[in-house]
């Protein structure tokens, strides 16, 4: 039988806090070089969104660059310019620092998931030379799945 959190080295509780705000929490796991970003608000203004990701960049640049887990379950509004920046600028920069594996957790609402899919397609069409196809991106349902995958 499969034991939950059978690998204690990578359970959620083992993550160390790096940054905490009203909009997001960032934690990391040194051994597995995993960064976790959990959004905490229905909407994150772009200045706070960028600030959060610059703090993640600090970790990635310091070698915590094996996997990035982005938990967006709290979101109810998808801000296209923020997502474009995240997709095109941030991911590309982090790719140069060795971050290839991205795990995402979306809200359960089907309309939100569909909107994200459509917006993602648009971004890929608008920026055909992006590095998206070089990345290992997977969508997960739980943090445990994201940590394990």
């Amino acid at each position: 039988m499969k034991q939950p959190n059978s690998n204690p080295q990578s359970s959620v509780a083992q993550f160390k806090d790096h940054f905490d705000s009203r909009f997001a929490r960032i934690a990391y796991h040194e051994n597995t070089k995993t960064v976790l970003c959990e959004l905490r608000a229905e909407y994150v203004p772009i200045e706070h969104f960028k600030d959060t990701f610059y703090r993640i960049s600090e970790l990635v640049k310091n070698g915590i660059n094996e996997k990035f887990i982005f938990d967006k379950r709290a979101l109810r509004a998808f801000h296209q310019p923020s997502m474009e920046w995240y997709f095109i600028v941030w991911k590309k920069e982090m790719y140069q620092y060795g971050l290839h594996r991205h795990r995402k957790i979306l809200p359960q609402e089907p309309w939100f998931r569909k909107s994200v899919e459509i917006a993602r397609k648009q971004i890929v069409q608008t920026y055909p030379d992006s590095i998206i196809d070089k990345l290992d991106i997977q969508y997960c349902e739980t943090l445990e799945d994201a940590i394990a995958s």
Partner: protein
């Protein structure tokens, strides 16, 4: 020169305290308004972002509808042509 009556000095002191309290309240309210305005701004941004999401989704759905309609017409035309051909 006569010293002012005690009541006047007490009144003056009370007035000074009231002015300080007024200033403190003013700053407190200004700060609350600022927080509220920021929250309102965020809410406005959130509504705009949600509207944009809806717009994008509806545009996409409309395009799919058009493509489906074109495809259905093409299938119908092909069927008509197939029926009318000699085999």
């Amino acid at each position: 020169m006569k010293t002012p009556p005690e009541a006047y000095l007490i009144f003056k002191e009370e007035l000074k305290k009231a002015a300080l309290e007024k200033e403190k309240l003013r700053k407190e309210y200004e700060s609350r308004f600022e927080v509220m305005n920021t929250e309102l701004l965020y809410l406005k941004e959130q509504i705009l972002a949600q509207q944009q999401m809806m717009k994008t989704t509806i545009t996409y759905a409309t395009r799919l509808e058009d493509e489906l309609s074109t495809l259905q017409k093409k299938i119908h035309q092909d069927l008509v042509q197939t029926k009318g051909s000699f085999h």
